[in-house]
């Protein structure tokens, strides 16, 4: 009897759950389903941007096909693999740097000092400037001849001659990463700061009394406690970094040295008007991100998805 009552209660709860989910799912379905499904469908056709209607089904030819003993398609295109390598480098390096730097900034902001409120607002400024604008601004600051970065480094005697930050293939990707770090570190810093402020004071008191070195305290007490916050930050930063587009596009255009998967997909889709191949490139990017996300989520399963189940 009690079990039955519990069952019906559970059923009612589940009904409520779906009822409450319905508006969000409905809106998301309307907004996302058609555009995403369309991309998937187009990726299997030879559609051009101008006449998506008159497209012919070509199976997986946009992805990979062998004709007369030669492989064609995106997966046979060295440029795609170059873009994949650039994108992965960009995503891993920038997210890693943002986490380290963001934590450092958060630690500083967590200390008590005057103007802390102002400082916290200042931290957010890079993140609030429209990307298109800040990317162009950095491109100007990094200009090899009249950029302020070279000027500053020359004055300080750190470099002997102006560097071509965005033109030199060895420097360009790193320059773009540096700008991305500038732009999105605040996001990470804020999340970590919030985590730091939640930490119980007593741990620290105990540590101080015991005379443990602050660095040790950080690694053995603080870091494990702020781990969940870091993970949330990392997931969303990683998703964004893998899809990076406007920053790269504005700063270095379509140059090979910084070509990312999104820039590559856009070039095929918009510049070349090849809706079929461009959609395929987008789907491949989706697949890459999805695979990495699944791996990432599985690795941290306990902390992100089904905890307390």
């Amino acid at each position: 009897m009690a079990a039955a009552a519990h069952d019906s209660l559970t059923r009612a709860r589940v009904r409520t759950a779906w009822l409450f989910l319905a508006p969000m799912l409905l809106v998301l379905a309307i907004v996302a389903l058609w555009p995403l499904a369309r991309t998937l469908l187009l990726s299997l056709t030879d559609a051009s941007l101008g006449n998506a209607g008159a497209a012919r089904f070509v199976g997986f030819e946009n992805y990979l096909v062998k004709e007369d003993g030669v492989w064609y398609g995106l997966l046979a295109d060295p440029l795609w693999w170059l873009a994949l390598r650039n994108t992965l480098t960009f995503a891993f390096v920038s997210v890693a740097a943002e986490v380290v730097l963001g934590t450092l900034i958060a630690l500083i902001l967590n200390a008590r000092f005057r103007f802390r409120g102002m400082m916290r607002a200042a931290v957010l400024v890079p993140w609030a400037i429209p990307t298109v604008v800040s990317a162009k601004m950095w491109a100007w600051m990094l200009h090899d001849q009249f950029g302020i970065v070279n000027d500053l480094l020359l004055r300080l005697g750190l470099i002997g001659a102006p560097l071509a930050w965005l033109a030199n293939a060895d420097l360009a990707l790193w320059s773009v990463i540096a700008v991305d770090v500038w732009k999105t570190t605040p996001f990470v810093a804020l999340l970590v700061l919030a985590a730091l402020q939640m930490l119980p004071e007593d741990c620290y008191e105990a540590a101080r009394v015991d005379g443990i070195h602050p660095v040790k305290v950080f690694f053995f007490v603080t870091l494990p406690l702020i781990r969940p916050a870091l993970i949330v930050a990392v997931i969303f930063r990683f998703l964004d970094a893998m899809r990076v587009f406007d920053l790269v596009y504005v700063m270095t255009g379509n140059a090979d040295a910084t070509l990312t998967l999104s820039v590559h997909a856009r070039q095929i889709l918009v510049d070349f008007q090849d809706a079929g191949s461009g959609s395929a490139a987008s789907v491949l990017l989706f697949v890459v991100i999805a695979l990495l996300s699944v791996l990432c989520l599985l690795a941290m399963r306990g902390e992100v998805l089904g905890r307390r189940q």
């Binding site: 500083i108 102002m118 950029g147 500038w182 919030a194 985590a195």
Partner: protein, 275 residues
Amino acid sequence: MMALARAVAFRLLVAALLAYLLFPFYYAVITSMKGGSAIFSVDYWPSQIDFSNYARIFSEQPFALNMLNSVLVAFAVVALSLLLGLTAAFSLGRIRFRGRNALLFAVLAVSMFPQVAVLSGMFELVRAFGLYNSLLSLVFSYMIFTLPFTVWVLTSFMRELPHEIEEAAIMDGAGPWTLVVRIFLPLLWPAMVTTGLLAFIVAWNEFLFALTFILSNEQRTVPVAIALITGGSEFELPWGGIMAASVTVTLPLIVLVLVFQRRLVAGLTAGAVKG
């Protein structure tokens, strides 16, 4: 002596940090007061104080109207995503049912496609609903960016709240809607502010959709208005004007952050951390 040295070192660190974060913005401000050839010279201090670039962006196009449009769109996006996100987060965070994780992942998957791939399909949708050249098209299409994020963050916040909270209320016979509005909303308020601000910045800065779905100057939003600032000829980049516009656009966001910064930090604290 040691303490003094440490204090000085700390101040220096803070100053270095501030310089790193704010210098580009400072540079934008001084550039916005320059004109013509001056943009090609390196200056560390404002060489001239001249607000004509600011005057020009407001006189040459309906920039004030564009800002109003941006504000309207951003607030509508925030309100809608928070409402939808909150109810969804209640289900996903507080009720156990099958397929919950799959659903969460599906929601996340929506934000794994590059924006440019979604553009054409979204354009067709916007036209099909008759929203072309209307601000509603932006509110509608921005859901694809803000909903996944809002749902995820609010769900994780929701999950952290202890079970006892709702049990007492359920005993008192409170329905689910009452539960969400009366019990969870006040507790989640700081979290709402956080996610709301994030959604706001996304909507405020978005460019591609805003360019494609809106055709008349009076309906445009700010990032597109900035892209429409041109020089006297095809290739000339009116750098001073663009910087003036960017500074103008960033200021409201800074004010917003200053106003909400206490709540913002508190909001992030509530959910993402404990457990």
